[in-house]
Symmetry: C2
């Protein structure tokens, strides 16, 4: 049976780390930032700009420019959709080539035909602040309030992106096979039983 | 370390079965319907009436009777709160006596001081219909639409009950340590890795 795993995650919840550690444990590749780099390489856009367009709330571009044009959304919106389409095509290609883990980008919806094991990773605010500070020296200089504001902004964009390409609600437990709360936990401790859980889930 | 586990569950998701099977695997008692029976025994109320009052949306009693009285809610509302208080006292007593699993009744909030492992169990509609029909011959005679309507009504009451006694949102992934989607799965297959997950979670 194919082993396709998707990981949706709140910012600061450790979803990326969980993906990497699962990848090591299962010996299958995990694609996260590489998706942005490959899409950028195949286009004339920089990775930074692709990242900016990725998992963005295109409705925010639209409302920002609607004063200038009542007929069509602006070019950033078009590019944002083009980037999403390119990302989704790449995700499908990667999944068709080998078992893998995909982080973000509505991969659970894009890869539905593979019946992937879909994980949502979340955490409480205290834990998000600790993870952001441990990950980045920039975050360590910010107040807790500013870090949480940033987390919420990014999650708002992720939610809007997801709900552009899906009928489902981002983060709603019934849309995932397992929702993992990493608050106050070392992710490495959870990997072994998680691998066993996924095996048991697939064994039926 | 104490082993207290709470299970919140959507109706038809198999939360009760999961509790029983975890109880067997961990050799600790699981309290579900026994809570109602004990509260009934300690009061002058029948188990059926206590069940009706339990996990009910008392705001529905209130709005139904507000036409008769603008000052106080009716007796059913008072009884509903009294039953909830008695249930919560009993839950605290049970947890103080031994490790245990408590199903429903906002036990994650009531037992917060024990830092329990909190599980939310959910499932998709197809799976809920199958579980309801397998569990009850009455349900087998009902249309899928009627079964889902019943599930939604019960979940609406559970949500209202929970949110009476908690600041949290019922079913919101970040309020639980693990949300388990049982759609199309045999719960017995998931117990062994779940036990391992809980052990790993506690080991820190």
């Amino acid at each position: 049976m194919r082993k396709i795993i998707t990981i949706s995650r709140e910012f600061g919840s450790g979803g990326r780390e969980l993906g990497k550690r699962l990848s090591d444990a299962l010996s299958i590749p995990c694609y996260d930032h590489q998706i942005i780099e490959t899409v950028a390489k195949n286009s004339s856009l920089s990775p930074e700009y692709v990242e900016k367009l990725s998992e963005n709330d295109i409705t925010s571009f639209y409302s920002a420019t609607i004063g200038h044009s009542f007929i069509s959304p602006n070019y950033a919106v078009v590019q944002s959709v083009q980037v999403a389409v390119a990302e989704h095509e790449l995700i499908k290609k990667l999944a068709s080539e080998s078992d893998c883990i995909i982080v973000g980008r509505a991969a659970d919806v894009v890869l539905a035909e593979y019946a992937p094991f879909n994980i949502f990773v979340c955490a409480n605010e205290k834990s998000k602040i600790e993870r952001c500070c441990a990950r980045s020296t920039n975050s360590a200089d910010l107040s807790d309030k500013v870090i949480i504001k940033k987390c919420k902004e990014i999650d708002k964009r992720r939610k809007a992106y997801y709900e552009m390409y899906s009928q489902n609600k981002w983060g709603d437990a019934v849309n995932y096979d397992l929702c993992i709360n990493t608050s106050g936990k070392q992710i490495k401790m959870l990997i072994k039983p998680l691998v066993e859980y996924i095996k048991a889930w697939r064994s039926e």
